[in-house]
């Protein structure tokens, strides 16, 4: 009871009557347009635009919105014969809308939420955080380095919001003790979650979607993003130091007092059960190794990364049987249902030719040249990621690029630098979130913490900082991508490995 009321308290709820009218109206308009012979791709394109537009406005819960959009799309698609009817392949066949869903991504989300929740309960993350805090000895600049590093590491292995919550809460507690303003640290952490979120294939949802679509392995991903994250880490550190004029402690007394303050933290006080703590550390290590070495582990390499996440979650549930129901309740069902709806919606759009139409629109800027194409992709995806949720953007563009990939023999420009477009999308969608305070969920959390602590920051105040950071990071990323390609760090994608639309369809037929 308390949990429900806590989660809904303070959140603006949608008006059921308004939503019903809007759904009815959109369905009616689409049905009439289809009935009057308007081309399918335009009608479904209108539906997609309406759904993504409403998503950007954030007036309705995103899971509900996408489920409504996909529901209307499915009904219209079945009615007009855009999709095969569910029973077309016999009683044992999976309905086409079930196959549209990327169960791998959903498996990773469910599995990682469970094992992250359990590892959090073991105190491991809090223990690491306090250890890192002590390294700083309470000096503001060292504290910035330590908290930023911690944020990058955590957001590389956890989801960005969880990383922000852990490091943000420690920041508040430590800054109160040290009598420092938490603002520079929290804003920097919000920015660093997006750098950390770029580090590995499973660090963020856009990485999972785009990386999986491009068939980039976990280790290959890390080899490309790792050096950039290091460069961006250092550059952002000095940028934040310059923006907030953070000065290191000078006086011996000040240093001694700050050290005494951080030494008063006892990392072992965050651990209630040492056995559970050590086992959690062991399992976390095994999960990270499993992700990293996935491609070379026999049997597992025949399955997706989601199997490792689910296996990790299962092992943790075996170790910690105390509150299984409570742990399972922590699964982000909003996110899971959002993905179910989003994948279904995009699946219908693919069948209706909407994605091919978007591909045609994007073909001109993307095929403009081996330099301008990737730059256009990176900077535009960063811009739109800053304004709205980067997940639908990454999902749509990944589908579009997959469409080009399926025609690689005909599209010589894609064969030449298609790999750079994939990477540009990954970098653009990952870094753009720093542009506005609503660009990434972790920045929203950081600003929420600041507001709660009595340091509200306005949209424009943030943009003045975020714009400088994004500009520097995108300039660095642009230079880095072309440099990395030149020295062979980024290799052309193996066209045989990347799934084309045809191979995906064959795979689906084989399953039937």
């Amino acid at each position: 009871m308390s949990k429900t009321s806590k989660k809904t308290a303070g959140k603006k709820l949608h008006n059921p009557l308004h939503v019903t009218i809007a759904v009815g109206l959109v369905t009616l308009i689409c049905a009439l347009m289809l009935h009057q012979g308007t081309e399918t791709k335009y009608v479904f394109g209108f539906l997609l635009a309406m759904t993504l537009g409403m998503l950007a406005l954030e007036k309705i819960n995103k899971a509900i919105l996408v489920l409504l959009g996909s529901g209307i799309a499915l009904l219209l698609a079945i009615w007009r014969g855009v999709l095969e009817k569910p029973d077309d392949h016999g009683a044992h066949a999976l309905p086409v809308y079930i196959e549209m869903i990327d169960w791998g991504t959903i498996g990773i989300i469910i599995g990682s939420t469970i094992f992250v929740e359990l590892i959090s309960r073991s105190g491991l993350f809090a223990w690491i955080s306090v250890k890192i805090l002590k390294v700083s000895q309470g000096d503001p600049f060292k504290l910035l380095i330590c908290f930023s590093g911690l944020t990058v590491i955590f957001s590389a292995f956890l989801n960005n919001v969880t990383a922000m919550i852990i490091v943000g809460s420690l920041t508040i507690v430590a800054c109160k003790k040290l009598k420092l303003s938490a603002m520079p640290f929290l804003l920097a952490e919000g920015i660093y979650t997006n750098i950390g979120g770029l580090l590995t294939l499973i660090s963020s949802i856009p990485n999972i979607i785009v990386g999986t679509a491009a068939r980039i392995g976990y280790a290959d991903f890390l080899v490309v993003t790792g050096p950039y994250c290091l460069i961006a880490f250092v550059a952002t550190l000095y940028l934040v130091r310059w923006i907030f004029k953070l000065a290191p402690l000078v006086s011996a007394q000040g240093k001694a007092d700050a050290k005494a303050m951080v030494d008063a933290f006892d990392e072992w006080d965050t651990v209630k059960d040492k056995k559970f703590f050590y086992l959690s550390a062991l399992v976390l290590g095994a999960i990270i190794l499993g992700f990293a070495l996935h491609a070379s582990i026999p049997v597992l390499n025949q399955m997706g990364l989601e199997v490792i996440a689910i296996l990790g979650a299962t092992v943790m549930l075996v170790i910690y049987p105390t509150d299984v129901e409570g742990v399972l309740n922590e699964v982000e069902w909003t996110l899971v249902l959002f993905f179910v709806g989003l994948f279904t919606l995009l699946g219908v759009m693919e069948h209706a030719g909407v994605l091919a139409m978007i591909g045609d629109w994007l073909k001109y800027p993307l095929s403009s040249g081996p330099a301008t194409g990737p730059i256009a992709m990176m900077w535009s995806s960063a811009f739109f990621s800053g304004l709205t949720d980067n997940i639908p953007l990454a999902a749509v563009l990944a589908k579009v690029l997959s469409g080009f990939q399926s025609q690689v023999t005909e599209l010589s420009w894609f064969a030449e630098y298609g790999h750079m477009l994939w990477w540009s999308l990954i970098f653009g969608a990952g870094l753009g979130g720093n542009f506005t305070p609503i660009g990434s969920a972790s920045t929203v959390v950081a600003i929420g913490i600041l507001k709660k602590e009595g340091h509200p920051i306005t949209f424009m105040q943030y943009v003045k900082i975020g714009a400088i950071v994004v500009l520097v990071q995108l300039l660095l990323a642009t230079g880095y991508l072309f440099g990395a390609e030149k020295i062979g760090l980024i290799k052309p994608l193996d066209h045989g490995k990347v799934p084309t639309m045809e191979t995906q369809d064959h795979k689906a037929s084989d399953n039937h």
């Binding site: 955080s129 933290f265 006080d269």
Partner: protein
Amino acid sequence: MSSVDQFASVFNAATKKVFQYKPIGFNKPLVITDLDSEAAVHYTETGKQFFSMVDGPWDTLCASDFKTVKELLDQVERRKPDLIVTYRHLHSEAWRWPHSLGEHLDVLIQVTDFPVVVMPHPDREGVPDQSMQAARRVMVINDHLAGEDALINHAVCLCDPEAGHLHLTHVEDQIVFERYMEAISRIPEIDTDTARSTIQAQLLAEVSKYLESTADILAEVRPNLEVVQHINHGRPLDTYRKIVKDHQADLVVLLGHDKDQLAMNSTAYSLAVELRTTPLLIV
């Protein structure tokens, strides 16, 4: 574990107040009496014997040096002592009725910043009504003991360095706790049983950690001092009185000046009134 508040609680619980030892020395003790000069000197000798570790020349005020509170404060201001040794009901017969400290001591404690020792009342010859030995068993009392380093440092300073026992006591007020629990029991969002057990455990854990750090540090700097911890839930006044009686405390150290209130806090005042045969150090 999915909210900022949950993690902030974990990190807040991980910070502990650690005792910091700071030796305290007294160089200008002042004994304030309302006795004639001969009896006052005798009383001062009793004080010297009791506080054998206090250095410096002892100064004494006798009956003729002051009469009113103003005169007393002027004398104290002129002499600028760093420790005052006195007793209840100066220039008053009210000491026979144990219901107050007397106006001189009441004002003195509030006005002065330095520690005041309240000794048992002397008879006409300046002899306390029970034997006064060296302060071997010193007891520290405070409702908010965690973080009050000064209280413990004063107690350590006045405790017999060779065979001293330092009793560190903390009593969580059960009546106040029950009042909050009653309020919590009417809030459906909070599980009452969980709240009771976790709040109770957390309240005592913080004090326990602080006292443990105190014992560890004192074991290094004052190895001959035996440190005993008393952490309880109950009615503070009754529990403190019982501990004083059970352990035959020679000196009770308590906090008289609260940052948030100008007057002595209620427990300290009540104890100062009630414990008439045990010397008190009000810091």
